[in-house]
């Protein structure tokens, strides 16, 4: 019996669930989520890699599909013939790197696309924002994605890193957390993106490590699950958003791994997939982040996930991207 007792992760069922995703074509949800199909594939693929079943989907087919999502501007859309957006550019790059096909796309074109979304001429307080697409919405998520995507191609020096770091610093709140933009309420998913961005930039010194770690630890509720902000409901995906940030901060041990595992495992659908909480309908997003969350607390049998890139550590190492770890403040050793 492992330290997690009889908490069983239904590995085979989840693999089947992911494989069957593109077969549910008569479901309303299927075509309603067409615009984020690429992210759906990324979520399914990461889950499979962490479950150590990477061959469960057809790699060549996925590579061809993802390449088909790249547009003339160098960015990727959520599906074939969809306009480019940073979110889907990130998912595409993550997928191709996991499948060892990153060299099949032109990194210069992707870099150019990402740089076009950086707003260097509209600075206030020395802050540089990054938009998600030509529509102009800006958010700390996009700041992270810009840095992360360019790191895949080793072109992140072309970004105004200092300006972006100032923007992220501006989004840090009185509770130590981070919001979607300066002033915005602290939210665990935004905390992850800001902390991960600072990790890539080698600027984790910006973080109020103790206060933020405390805020993150407090996301764990009595049931073992985590919420995204005070007084909100627990949700399986926060096992990732909270866990990854704590991992980067070298404070993973501040939460109860046993209770978290209990919660995530209880949110499984016996027919496959994981839901946001016990009793709800499973979906690929929660399946991905539930499994990633379990990987972070070293649930047995899962491959280790990198807390910055949300991909297997082995892939991140192969790409040379694990070097963010060398830039974590030395005083932070556990």
């Amino acid at each position: 019996m492992t330290m997690f007792g009889t908490n069983q992760l239904l590995v085979d069922k989840h693999v089947e669930f992911i494989q069957n995703l593109d077969k549910k074509q008569d479901g309303l949800e299927y075509w309603m989520t067409e615009h984020l199909r690429v992210s759906g594939i990324y979520w399914g693929l990461v889950a499979l890699f962490l479950l150590d079943r990477p061959q469960a989907l057809d790699h060549e087919q996925i590579i061809a599909y993802v390449r088909g999502c790249q547009n003339a501007d160098g960015g990727f859309g959520g599906h074939t013939n969809h306009d480019s957006h940073l979110l889907y550019t990130m998912s595409s790059v993550q997928i191709l790197s996991m499948l060892n096909a990153l060299d099949q796309i032109d990194g210069k074109k992707v870099t150019k696309y990402v740089l076009s979304l950086q707003q260097t001429n509209k600075q206030t307080n020395g802050q540089t924002t990054v938009c998600g697409d030509v529509w102009g919405e800006h958010d700390t998520r996009f700041a992270f994605i810009a840095m992360a995507v360019l790191s895949f191609f080793n072109t992140q020096d072309q970004l105004d890193t200092n300006g972006i770091v100032e923007y992220i610093r501006g989004a840090m709140n009185y509770d130590g957390g981070f919001g979607s933009k300066p002033g915005g309420e602290s939210h665990a998913a935004q905390v992850y993106t800001c902390v991960a961005a600072l990790a890539v930039a080698g600027r984790l010194d910006v973080v109020d490590r103790d206060r933020l770690s405390g805020w993150l630890a407090e996301r764990q509720l009595l049931c073992g699950g985590m919420n995204g902000r005070p007084q909100k409901l627990e949700d399986v995906c926060y096992a990732w958003w909270v866990g990854s940030a704590l991992d980067i901060l070298r404070r993973r041990h501040w939460i109860s791994a046993e209770k978290l595992v209990e919660f995530v495992v209880s949110a499984q659908d016996e027919n496959g997939g994981i839901a946001d909480r016990p009793g709800d309908v499973a979906d690929v997003y929660h399946t991905c982040f539930g499994i990633a969350g379990l990987s972070l607390v070293r649930y047995p049998g899962l491959n280790e996930v990198d807390p910055v890139y949300c991909m297997p550590r082995s892939v991140v190492k192969r790409l040379g991207l694990h070097k963010w770890q060398d830039k974590v403040p030395k005083s932070w050793s556990q």
Binding site: D22, Q25, G27, L28, Y30, W31, M32, T33, E34, H35, R37, I41, D58, Q61, I62, A64, Y65, G77, G78, H79, T80, N81, H82, D83, H85, N125, V134, W135, G136, N173, Y174, D175, G176, G179, S180, K181, G183, G184, E185, H187, D210, S213, G214, W215, A217, E218, Q220, L221, L222, G224, R229, P230, Q231, K232, R251, H253, W254, I255, S256, K259
Partner: protein, 344 residues
Amino acid sequence: MRIEGSEQVEEAVSLAQQAEWQDITPIEQEEGEGSMCPIAYTDEYRELMGYLRAVMAVGEVSERALALTARVIEENPGHYTVWVYRKRLVEELESDIAEELDWVCDISCKFPKNYQLWHHRESLVTRLWAPSNALLVSEDQRITNPVLRRELQFLDAAIDEDSKNFHAWSYRQWLVSTYALWTQELAFVDTMINQDVRNNSAWNQRYFAILANRNPSVVRLEADVAKSEIEYVVEHIKLAPNNDSPWSYVTGLLLRHAPSMLYTDLLPRIKQLAADNAYQAAMTLTPFYWSALLDIYEQQSADHPDLKKQLIDESSAICDQLASETDIIHCRYWNFRKTSLDTC
């Protein structure tokens, strides 16, 4: 100009049957041989998307294209590309912005969780009343102006529907910040906090309202403002002592902008509350009271090293209590806090 009535008639008849659309060949979604993601549509949506792809491919700017985007958004408001196209159409057709804002309201009613609509609204409002013009008049004149009054009403409805709607609060911050509506904001925040003292979004907004766009790293809070905030927080702690937000707000606010007041002013007030018969039990049971004491003692011993030993002893006991009784789920965190006390 859109003619409402004809749109309703059009819905019943497929586009392929309509004279207006005869010149367009819809572009079917590519689902090649062995496509990994063949997608099934309802027939109606499939047709709408086919025509939309066709007009987008040629960059058509027309009323019929605008009506088409409305229909697609009404089926699938998460489709971000359509919003971008619609924004462009609204601009180039010089559509009535007020009507467009009304239409966005309808979408919001149907899809309260949709977030694209907020950004669309932002671009419409700035076109309707440029901030540079708005800032030439007084704040009173700004809030009574129909443009901003409508936005505030829209926000009221959205926040009423979901008081923690992340995007609504974010939009509100953009509106208040861009149009400098600071004076009314604190009153609004107060209303929201009184409606639900546990609403963390409202407490976050309080900080936003107090800071009023000043750079946090250079703001020192005036003593009377800090005292008044402490009183406000204590009154709201009384309503629900075991509530994260006010504790987090006041310790965060003072730590950043008036650190010594943590122990000169906040400490005596909360100790007084904890000694009050009416609140003693609740205060003892809530981890947030004890956690606040830890934060306060940490600051106090940093400022007054002569008190350090005594404060560390007290803090150590608090950590033990939290880890073993008051907040067991977070025991690992409290055990760490205890070990780090000496290094403060």
